[in-house]
């Protein structure tokens, strides 16, 4: 049975193996650093994909979850000395809790209410954290203690943390897609009323889906705080992250397992490359939102969808 799995999925396993040993074979730390950030965006996009791609309820403030995870780590590590990667998981749980808070009143309603509420999520948290100085450090942010080893080691550790989280995100998406809950979510996306009358408890499943979609970005945020050793409301509650989550996921293929990763891989690489060749700030947002609009209008199924339908390549 294991043989069959290996035979079927060998390209993916090969890539995973390569990425697993990458830090040891990479010529420069720069590449490891680059990949870890790419993984981070892929995790956020992958989380968004669960509620936006599979369930058909796009969220417009996913940065809220990233930021909550980051602050959870920052506060717990710098004030209470709790080990960072545990705080990252806690951060994910905090994010999921916030998702419940927002989701509970909005997901039981039909209409644009969920979208409207998520639109303000990130911004509201930014203001909240900016003004709760005593707890959150306000505009000055929070500094985390520097890890006691060389920077290359920290980067390698964070790389693996992000890598494992990414694998968890993708695996969860894969299992979800094949499960009955995943089928129900897709039916909710296709026709919520028909799903409801077919026996699907739509509100409950939407809520679970939303909380799951918040958990992974929360963890990513928690890891990021440790990596960056300094966070403030402007860096972790930024609309750019919300936007990238949507764009990377949709460009790659919302509602597919590898769509978000592929979208992140392509667009984030372009973004970083552009940053190093010509430094025109803000151009990336313009270009990416333009690309995303084109995707929504002309090929909403994204790259993976295009490859599947028009060319016939079967990517999960």
């Amino acid at each position: 049975m294991l043989e069959n799995l290996v035979r079927k999925y060998w390209p993916i396993l090969a890539i995973i193996a390569f990425l697993a040993i990458f830090p040891w074979i990479s010529p420069e730390t720069f590449f490891v650093d680059f990949l870890l950030l790419l993984f981070m965006y892929a995790i956020i996009a992958g989380g968004w994909n669960i509620i936006g791609g599979y369930t058909g309820y796009p969220s417009f403030g996913h940065t809220a979850f990233f930021g909550l995870g980051a602050y959870t780590t920052a506060i717990l590590v710098s004030r209470f000395g709790i080990p960072p990667f545990i705080t990252a998981i806690l951060g994910g749980l905090v994010a999921a809790g916030f998702a419940f808070l927002i989701g509970y009143p909005t997901l039981r309603l039909k209409g644009p209410y969920f979208a409207i509420a998520t639109l303000s999520m990130g911004f509201v948290l930014q203001i909240l954290f900016l003004n709760l100085g005593p707890i959150t450090g306000g505009g000055e942010g929070i500094s985390l203690p520097l890890p006691p080893w060389r920077i290359e080691i920290t980067i390698t550790i964070v790389y693996y943390a992000m890598f494992i989280t990414l694998l968890a995100t993708i695996l969860t998406t894969y299992l979800l897609e094949r499960s009955r809950v995943g089928l129900a979510l897709r039916c909710i996306r296709d026709d919520e009323l028909a799903a409801e009358t077919s026996g699907v408890p739509t509100t409950k499943l939407k809520l679970i889906s939303f909380m799951l979609s918040a958990f992974f970005p929360g963890v990513a945020g928690g890891i990021y705080a440790y990596y960056s050793t300094y966070i403030d409301p402007f860096t972790v509650f930024t609309p750019a992250i919300s936007m990238f989550a949507i764009i990377f996921s949709m460009f790659g293929g919302a509602g597919t397992v590898f769509g978000p990763l592929i979208g992140s891989a392509i667009l984030f690489t372009i973004d970083e490359a552009a940053r190093y060749s010509f430094t025109v700030p803000g151009i990336d947002l313009i270009v990416f939102s333009g690309i995303a609009m084109a995707v929504v209008i002309f090929f909403p199924e994204g790259l993976v969808g295009l490859l599947r339908e028009r060319i016939g390549v079967k990517i999960p």
Binding site: R180, R186, D190, L193, T197, S198, V200
Partner: protein, 243 residues
């Protein structure tokens, strides 16, 4: 205790009365609900299946008050329904369309393999077996209606509510569906409440007819009696046609 009891149900949308004090009881068999357009038939279905909350009144199923319960709970209690304009899960396969209702529509845990097996059997029963792996959006209207039926039956409902199931079909297709519905009732023992406009289909299949007009019941009885009722003729054809 009746299987279904609708008691003084009214439904207002703003100032518009879609249903006015509708009451009837139902104890099984094939019940037909007819009436001119806008009479409130689909609204009645929506109230019974939990899609709408009635403005006033109650609905009882097997003695239990189901008024205003969420539609998925009502499905699990044993009432399935089809939609006037079919609502397939377009991006999923035909098989998955049925399977999802089989997994979520009934009480109790059941394995995916079992449900898929049953779903295939139902697809064969309605004649869609060879389409099982196609996307539901690729089906034509007749096939979509058959899919609605299969999706309704998979949860082994006690009551299947059909909303204009033969609307928009050719005469041959109408006959096919009518035969299917009779079979479902007689062989599978599923009770049927059936909204219909195509008189040919309903009048010879139903055992009892309820006629709605402007949100009220204006006549009730076996098909032959209702067909001759002057109130019914007036509702459909207008004053002058009453003999």
């Amino acid at each position: 205790m009746h299987m279904l009891e609708v008691k003084n149900v009214s439904k207002y949308f703003g100032g518009l009365a879609a249903l006015k004090n509708v009451s009837f009881t139902y104890d099984g068999g094939i019940l037909g609900i007819i009436g001119p357009n806008g009479a409130g038939k689909t609204t009645l279905f929506n109230v019974i299946t939990g899609v709408y909350k009635p403005t006033s009144g109650k609905v009882f199923f097997e003695g239990k008050d189901i008024t205003g319960l969420a539609p998925h709970k009502i499905r699990r209690l044993g009432i399935a329904r089809t939609f006037q304009i079919p609502r397939p899960f377009g991006r999923e396969t035909v098989l998955e369309n049925v399977v999802v209702a089989g997994l979520f529509g009934r009480v109790g845990r059941v394995s995916r393999e079992e449900v898929e097996k049953e779903a295939m059997e139902l697809l064969e029963f309605v004649g869609l077996k060879d389409k099982a792996d196609l996307r539901a959006s690729s089906l034509n209207i007749f096939q979509r209606k058959l899919l609605e039926i299969a999706r309704g039956l998979i949860s082994r409902p006690k009551l299947l509510m059909l909303d204009e199931i033969v609307a928009g079909l050719t005469p041959a297709e109408v006959d096919r569906v009518v035969e299917l519905v009779k079979k479902i009732n007689k062989e599978m023992g599923v009770n049927i409440i059936w909204i219909e406009h195509v008189m040919r289909a309903i009048m010879r299949s139903a055992e009892w007819i309820i006629v709605l007009d402007f949100g009220e019941i204006i006549s009730e009885g076996p098909p032959e009696k209702v067909a001759k009722d002057p109130k019914v003729i007036k509702a459909y054809l207008g004053e002058e046609y009453v003999a």
